[in-house]
């Protein structure tokens, strides 16, 4: 204790008073009890006054003889040590302490560790003064419980620590007292709360939306009161909730609660956090959608492949011809998918698709297959069907038509009609090749083209066996979806 400690003067007076009592100089004392205020107590007898005074001290006190033997202990000291006076009187003073016993220097306060029966040692301040009892020199020793002070300091330090943690928290964190009222809130929690959170129950500060059965059904079963009681007493791990409150309309949160435990392992409240998972949920939803979409597309492809295989098989006389035809078609499918992947399945311009699918036939001479028309975006769903159609057209041209001779060529043109609901009218004109008669060509290829255009492109396809060369007219809508993608860049020649 520092010399400035305000308690010191009172110690000195107490000592003086004890002396005065011993010398028989006084016959009354003033005692102050916190609730009742000062009271005068009359003393009788010689030893009695001393005992009364020491008894009424709030510190532990004892008298030790010149050889260090304990002669007398007050009740408070018995409380502090956990031993009855019979067990203390007669012992050596030093035996009361754990570790280094204090060196007693008159009127100097030392610190020591007081042994306690069945508990941890208690830090104490030790003050002593020689006194005379009936002529014999003895020592009055007073022991003050420092643990209370230490505990108060620890509590204050812990409080400061807790506050700074809360202040740093980027999430909404609140501390609830055992009766479910908010005692501390982080900055973010104060922002989210419907009203200043201090003193409110959790539900008052953060009203939750009643949840639907899908996802977070657990919470729906509890009323606000029950929720408050549960949060104060039971751990929750990551329950998804939505805050009811106009400003929080779109945000989803993860509600977690855990008990706050003190040194004695007792639950003294709970800590509740609300973690903003809006972004995460959004990402999850996107993910789910993507997976579903992917699944859908894969199924689509498999269905197409299956259908192509089945139909190729029906029109193929031999395994070899099946193999050739099937492989050709699969390749076209693969190209179509490559194209789609490159544009991340958004779609592709008609011109680019034509260029990609017909590349094998234009490799040595681009003018063999001319592609002319205005820029128009095809929706993703049209890419595969149109690719298949183009493949068939090209294959047929290569087998029987313009691409089967060196002089032949193909002219592809198209028109875009309509405003919001656009349509493409594409013309495939073969020239310079051998004359193709209707009979030769109404094979599977023609059927495939007609079927795909009708079913998969919602359009129509018509073949014309012009003596100059085969002409296909293919018309199909590019729909509302494509409307948003369609851009007019102006005429485009590839």
């Amino acid at each position: 204790m520092s010399p400035d400690d305000p308690k010191l003067p009172l110690f000195a007076d107490a000592d003086e008073t004890i002396q005065a009592i011993h010398q028989g100089d006084i016959d009354a004392i003033v005692v102050t009890r916190s609730l009742e205020g000062p009271q005068v107590i009359l003393l009788h007898g010689a030893e009695e006054p001393y005992r009364v005074l020491v008894e009424r001290m709030s510190d532990g006190a004892l008298t030790a003889g010149p050889d260090g033997v304990i002669l007398y202990v007050n009740d408070r000291l018995c409380e502090l040590t956990g031993c009855p006076s019979a067990r203390l009187v007669g012992r050596d003073l030093v035996s009361l302490f754990e570790g280094e016993p204090p060196t007693l220097v008159p009127e100097v306060t030392a610190e020591a560790s007081l042994s306690r029966n069945g508990q941890h040692a208690m830090p104490v301040a030790v003050w002593s003064r020689p006194i005379s009892i009936g002529g014999t020199m003895a020592t009055l020793v007073r022991l003050t419980d420092l643990s209370i002070h230490r505990r108060a300091e620890q509590i204050a330090a812990a409080e400061r620590f807790a506050r700074s943690v809360l202040e740093q928290a980027t999430e909404a964190v609140v501390v609830l007292s055992p009766d479910g009222r908010i005692t501390h809130a982080s900055w973010r929690a104060e922002q989210l709360a419907e009203r200043p959170p201090s003193g409110c129950t959790f539900s008052e500060a953060f009203p939750l939306e009643a949840q639907s059965a899908e996802g977070t059904g657990t919470l729906a079963r509890f009323s606000a009161e029950n929720l408050d009681a549960m949060l104060a007493t039971r751990p929750f791990h990551g329950v998804e909730v939505k805050l009811r409150g106009k400003s929080n309309a779109k945000s989803a949160y993860l509600l977690s609660a855990g008990p706050l435990i003190d040194d004695n392992k007792a639950t003294v409240g709970s800590i509740v956090t609300l973690t903003d998972i809006t972004e995460r949920k959004h990402a999850e939803e996107q993910q789910t959608m993507m997976v579903a979409e992917l699944n859908h597309r894969v199924k689509n492809i498999l269905a197409i492949v299956q259908s192509v295989a089945a139909q190729t098989m029906r029109s193929s006389g031999s395994l070899e011809s099946f193999s050739d035809a099937f492989t050709g078609r699969l390749k076209a499918l693969a190209i179509a998918h490559d194209v789609l992947t490159e544009t991340r399945w958004i779609g592709i311009g008609l011109s680019e698709l034509l260029t990609a699918v017909l590349a094998p036939y234009r490799s040595s001479d681009e003018s063999r297959v001319s592609i002319v028309g205005s820029a128009i975006m095809l929706p993703a769903r049209a890419v595969v069907p149109l690719s298949m159609v183009l493949h068939e057209l090209a294959t047929n041209a290569a087998k029987y038509g313009a691409l089967s001779t060196r002089r032949g060529n193909i002219e592809i043109t198209w028109q875009v009609t309509g405003d919001i609901e656009k349509s493409i009218e594409l013309i495939w004109q073969e020239r310079g090749g051998p004359q193709v008669k209707a009979k030769t060509s109404t094979g599977f290829g023609t059927k495939l083209i007609e079927r795909v255009v009708r079913h998969d492109l919602d359009g129509n396809a018509k073949i014309d066996f012009d003596p100059a060369g085969v002409r296909w007219r293919i018309g199909f809508p590019v729909g509302g979806l494509a409307g948003s993608h369609a851009e007019a860049f102006g005429s485009f020649t590839a």
Binding site: D13, D25, I26, D27, A28, I29, V30, P38
Partner: protein
């Protein structure tokens, strides 16, 4: 009575206890003998109003407080030892 020389004394007692009575009597005797005409005594009965003890932090009764001249001085006891009282109050014996 000049400020410089006057003694202002306050005696805290507890009703009619033997030592309270003795202190009152002894104090009067000492003052009459050694501070004639230069003293003022106030008797405070703490039995009547214990709260008054707080003013001078009185624990033991009787206690004599010299308020003037400064500094404050305190003597505990029934004041039966006149010599001690004189020394304690810093009074030159008459």
């Amino acid at each position: 009575m000049t400020e410089h020389e006057g003694y202002n004394l306050r005696l805290y007692v507890a009703g009619q206890t033997p030592k309270s009575i003795a202190a009152i009597a002894n104090l009067k005797k000492i003052c009459d003998q050694h501070l004639p005409g230069r003293y003022e005594i106030e008797i405070i009965d703490l039995m009547k109003d214990p709260a008054l003890a707080m003013r001078h932090q009185i624990v033991a009764i009787p206690t004599l407080i010299r308020q003037l001249p400064e500094p404050l001085k305190r003597i505990i006891g029934d004041l039966s030892n006149a010599e001690k009282v004189l020394i304690g109050l810093d009074i030159r014996p008459n």
